[in-house]
């Protein structure tokens, strides 16, 4: 099983442990990830604010590169996934926009491949049974909530994500790894990641609402698949006392598979998860 891989800018910087854990887990599962040749930034959370044209044209170039590979392209970052999937949706459904974008990005769209979020590949291509069968160190006693945020699930007609009001993939993955996945009513509420550098006080209020509600459910950690959410949730959470570790779901897969590389990921976090992992005898 092979896929094209679009890491996006965050996975080469603030989300480097996400990239490292994705690569390690996929290597172990023997699933190939071929990084797109010379990909460009999709414009993420800024292009759509200033220029609708750029928000469509920048991802369009990457779709052209991905089509050449003939493989579905996997995107770990929810923002990158959302931008590329939106362009894919426009090009499939609006002939006028398609012609414009083919001209601007200089390629001919065939629609032969699909843009897919990483969690879809893990849950639906690799599968929960396979994940479960590879677990060497069950995450026993780790109480966590799955957190999806916005861009993976909305707008549902574009993302095609499973039940946008009550997605379950993340909790299913956590359970397959032996963790205790708790119900969390705020799983698709916005963390304000797009505002974290422009309206940081508002972003902090949004983050702490999510952290407080997660703590009320009994969660000791939150698990996400978005580098913007992860960064924002770590950076803006309250500084008074207790802190809430924020994991990428692939980090927990790597930990449960007992991969040696996993020890390098924890020091990359702004909120250290090592205390929690030691308390659960997972380190």
């Amino acid at each position: 099983m092979d896929f094209s891989y679009y890491p996006g800018c965050s996975l080469h910087s603030t989300g480097s442990e996400f990239d490292a854990s994705v690569q390690a887990v996929f290597r172990t599962l023997n699933v190939g990830l071929r990084e797109l040749e010379d990909w460009n930034c999709c414009g993420a959370s800024s292009a759509h604010v200033i220029s609708r044209g750029l928000s469509l044209a920048l991802p369009a170039r990457n779709l052209g590169i991905a089509e050449k590979s003939g493989l579905d392209v996997v995107m770990p970052c929810a923002a990158c996934f959302n931008r590329h999937k939106s362009v894919d949706y426009e090009m499939r459904n609006d002939p006028q926009k398609r012609a414009y974008l083919e001209d601007v990005a200089n390629f001919s769209f065939s629609g032969s491949i699909h843009v897919r979020p990483l969690i879809d590949i893990v849950a639906n291509e690799i599968g929960l049974e396979k994940l479960n069968s590879m677990v060497k160190k069950p995450l026993k006693g780790l109480k966590a909530v799955g957190y999806y945020g916005c861009l993976l699930v909305r707008p549902p007609e574009v993302t095609g994500f499973e039940n946008p009001d009550h997605p379950v993939l993340m909790n299913q993955i956590l359970e397959a790894l032996g963790a205790e996945a708790l119900d969390y009513a705020y799983a698709t509420e916005c963390c304000g990641g797009g505002l974290t550098l422009t309206k940081s006080v508002i972003a902090a209020r949004m983050v702490n609402r999510l952290i407080d509600r997660a703590r009320e459910t009994g969660a000791e950690a939150m698990v996400t698949s978005c580098p913007l959410c992860q960064m924002n949730l770590e950076m803006r959470q309250g500084k008074n006392g207790a802190s809430m570790p924020i994991f990428y779901f692939t980090e927990l897969i790597g930990l449960a598979f007992n991969l040696l590389e996993s020890s390098k990921w924890w020091s990359k976090h702004l909120v250290s998860p090592t205390g929690l992992l030691k308390a659960k005898n997972l380190l």
Binding site: C9, S10, H12, S13, T14, S16, D38, W39, N40, C41, G43, A44, S45, S46, A47, H48, V49, I50, S51, R52, G53, L54, S55, A57, L58, R61, Y100, D103, V104, A105, N106, C150, L151, R154, P155, P156, P164, E189, C190, G192, G193, G194, L195, L197, T198, K199, S200, I202, R205, M206, M235, S267, K268, L270
Partner: protein, 184 residues
């Protein structure tokens, strides 16, 4: 400009039919930042219907919107309100009105400037330039220092090979008639 044409321009820029809003308030009830706003999503749609262009383009609300898409997902008339917010922000910048959150505009412009010239994001360039441009030098210094120490903000940028292709995309989008300043 007539009231009618402001709504038409926003509808056209966002590909949405804002006249369909019958103010059920579902968008506003679910908006995660509504308590920070002066109007909130449904009143913004009402102001568009009433042609209150200046009030909207100079409002803080359009910069407080987190683009989370909750409103559009719940709208019974299928108005993608986040796209409407994008159209308002884009129009505010293009028309050169007195924007309420100028630091946010500077951030997004610098973000695109970095992408235009390097082909990818380079956080150190973006954040450094934004600090200088806004003279907000000390904001988030503690987090920034930690991220650099952890090797999560690379100092040396990665330049893609085909930077010319990305620059051409910027030029072509800028020359697209539909992307030009609306005619008054």
């Amino acid at each position: 400009m007539t009231n009618h044409s402001f709504q038409t321009l926003i509808n056209s820029a966002s590909s949405q039919s804002t006249q369909l809003c019958f103010h059920c308030h579902k968008c506003t009830a679910g908006c995660p930042v509504v308590e920070e706003m002066e109007y909130g999503p449904d009143q913004i749609l009402r102001l568009i219907q009433m042609g209150e262009k200046d009030a909207l383009l100079t409002s803080h609300d359009i910069w407080i919107c987190a683009s989370c898409e909750t409103c559009g997902t719940r709208c019974p008339n299928e108005i993608d309100i986040a796209r409407v917010m994008d159209a308002l922000r884009e129009m505010a910048i293009k028309e050169g009105v007195k924007v309420a959150e100028i630091d946010a505009v500077k951030f997004h412009k610098l973000f695109l400037f970095v992408v235009q010239n390097m082909g990818r994001m380079h956080e150190a360039s973006l954040l450094g330039a934004h600090k200088l441009w806004t003279m907000n030098l000390l904001a988030d210094m503690d987090a920034g220092v930690k991220l650099i120490a952890k090797g999560k903000i690379p100092i040396v940028p990665h330049l893609i090979k085909q930077r010319g292709e990305v620059k051409r995309i910027f030029e072509k989008v800028a020359s697209n008639p539909a992307d030009q300043k609306p005619v008054e």
